[in-house]
């Protein structure tokens, strides 16, 4: 196959990948979009085989490895529970990162195959591109591993900080640039390996100071990095499909990070520098003076909701942890039978990754046209009888609007306090992730339901 024809096919896959993302603009077209993505990938892999044209023993090996990886991937995709989606995505990002490192290594060791020159005499431009691809890939790899461990709960979600941390990261970043420069000048392979090792270290150092609830930003950011790594390798291999995809994924991750940061009213750098959301002892002890709370049970909650005209459900990470989405849908079904109008309100940073709550509700067969984003539904709280807050906390805290001293001041929140009554399912009165007390607990129209989210919801169903 001629190089030009090959390039045209890669361009076609690139376009199909664009259409795959375009399809996600609505759930209606999304399934078709995913199909475009699969076709694009099949074309890219197919023409690569044809272009190499080496249908010998090697071909069988490649096909074998493809099947091994593919079946492992398919197995994971079918087995994984929806609540584990954040860890899965983090894990997948680490694989893209490591694959980029490996491809860069083979290009460095055997540059002739990729027309990049010969070992010890690789084209400078290619050397720069592959170093960047390998470095970003390595950062993505170890960074995603740390994110995975934190999301899985194997590693504590609280930030790990030490003196001079940011200075160290900056120094390592500068050393990396210096090493890439020396690598280009000397072509000595030691520098190449050092670049990869330091990048692995940087990946770890970048993610450890970031706390558990900032994970939506971290995952989006690593998503973006995996794209830039792919683009770097795309330049090295002079492959259009890879360059287009890398750019798409890179900007997609960057936009998601931006949306997540805006949902918390924090700057990207504030999140990246980390340290937020540590167990801030001072603020929790300050609220020691017991304020009166109204304590309710499942019976009260069922009574309130049964007699309401409209109910808005506000889910948060706690719902995912308790796996309460199916019980919640059942509760809503019986409410609907009683003629209650029920909708769902989702805050942009609810959960541990962008869109986390939507997927869980979809899994529980909640129709997506009953689920609304913050801007769409926020005015409806004023006309709603009951707000049922399940597993959310900071995103409902009115302090964000009233107290300029508060760490979450300015964060857009769901105006839950405007509804006639608020049912707040929570295990205890402990402050949320931001380490601050939620004013909503002590309001007259708030009824606290102290229990596990799933258990409480099931008890309410019994009382309906």
């Amino acid at each position: 196959m001629s190089a030009n024809l090959l390039a045209v096919f890669y361009l076609i896959s690139g376009v199909l990948f664009i259409l795959a993302l375009r399809g996600l603009s609505s759930p209606e077209t999304s399934r078709q979009g995913n199909l475009f993505g699969i076709i694009g990938m099949a074309i890219a892999i197919g023409v690569t085989f044809l272009s190499v044209g080496n249908f010998s023993t090697g071909f069988l090996y490649v096909l074998g490895f493809l099947l091994i990886g593919g079946s492992a991937g398919a197995f994971i995709a079918y087995k994984i529970p929806m609540t584990a989606m954040p860890e899965l995505v983090a894990g997948f990002h680490s694989l893209v990162g490591l694959a980029a490192v490996f491809v860069a290594i083979s290009a460095f060791l055997n540059p002739e195959v990729f027309n990049l020159g010969s070992p010890g005499n690789i084209k400078i431009a290619s050397l720069i591109e592959m170093s960047f691809g390998a470095a970003i890939g390595a950062i993505t790899f170890t960074g995603s591993i740390i994110a995975f461990l934190k999301l899985r709960g194997i590693m504590s979600g609280s930030p790990i900080t030490f003196l001079g941390q940011h200075f160290l990261n900056l120094a390592l970043g500068l050393i990396l640039l210096g090493l890439i420069f020396y690598l280009c000048k000397t072509q000595v392979d030691t520098w190449f390996w050092t670049i990869i090792v330091i990048s692995f270290l940087v990946g770890v150092l970048l993610i450890i100071p970031i706390g558990g609830a900032d994970m939506p930003v971290v995952i989006s950011m690593l998503n973006s990095y995996s794209g830039w790594a792919a683009a770097g390798i795309g330049f090295t291999l002079e492959n259009t499909a890879l360059i287009i995809t890398g750019a798409l994924v890179g900007s997609s991750g960057a936009i998601l990070s931006y949306i997540m940061c805006k949902g918390m009213n924090r700057s990207f750098f504030n999140v990246i520098l980390g340290g937020f959301g540590g167990t801030d002892k001072s603020s929790s002890s300050k609220s020691k003076e017991q304020k009166p709370v109204k304590n309710g049970n499942a019976d009260d909650a069922a009574f309130l909701m049964k007699n309401a005209a409209s109910v808005i459900i506000v889910p948060g990470y706690g719902m995912a942890v308790a796996q309460a989405q199916h019980a919640l849908r059942e509760m809503v079904d019986s409410l609907k039978k009683n003629g209650v109008k029920v909708t769902y309100a989702i805050h942009p940073v609810a959960g541990r990754m962008p869109g986390h709550m939507n997927v869980l509700l979809a899994e529980a067969n909640v129709p997506y046209d009953e689920v609304f984003e913050l801007e769409e539904i926020n005015n409806d709280f004023a006309n709603c009888d009951v707000a049922y807050v399940i597993g959310a906390n900071d995103v409902t805290n009115p302090v964000a609007k009233t107290d300029p001293q508060s760490p979450i001041y300015g964060m857009p929140i769901l105006d839950v306090e405007k509804s006639k009554s608020v049912l707040f399912v929570k295990r205890s009165l402990s402050p949320g992730y931001a380490g601050i007390d939620n004013d909503l607990f002590y309001r007259d129209n708030t009824l606290m339901l102290f229990a596990d989210a799933k258990k409480m919801t099931e008890d309410i169903i019994k009382n309906l």
Binding site: R31, G37, M41, A44, V89, V96, A99, Y368
Partner: protein, 102 residues
């Protein structure tokens, strides 16, 4: 004077960033999780580099260090391609509109 092919690739890259920017802003927020899993799957198109690296060389020395790294990359990328597209499909299949409401 001839233009370096690198400049053409750079143009594709920059324009694709802009395409990505506009396309991703039009993605509905409720599909942000599938967006992440599908971008993950498509970025594994890096497998083309791995295949070229894996198939390099003569029949005899197919287990050269460079080839082995290529093979490892093929496995990793294949996990992502199949895993990413299938899990996206599984998620998207769950998004249903309100239909039979009693």
């Amino acid at each position: 004077m001839e233009i370096d092919p690198f400049i053409f690739r750079l143009s594709i890259f920059i324009l694709s960033i802009f395409i990505g920017y506009y396309v991703v802003w039009s993605v509905t927020p409720s599909l942000h999780t599938p967006l992440m899993s599908v971008t993950n799957a498509i970025s594994s198109v890096i497998i083309v580099g791995a295949i070229i690296a894996g198939l390099a060389g003569d029949f005899g020395n197919i287990f050269d260090t460079a080839n082995i790294f290529g093979f490892l990359a093929i496995i990793l990328a294949a996990v992502n391609i199949f895993g990413g597209f299938l899990v996206t499909q599984r998620m998207l299949a769950m998004y249903r509109k309100k239909k039979k409401d009693k």
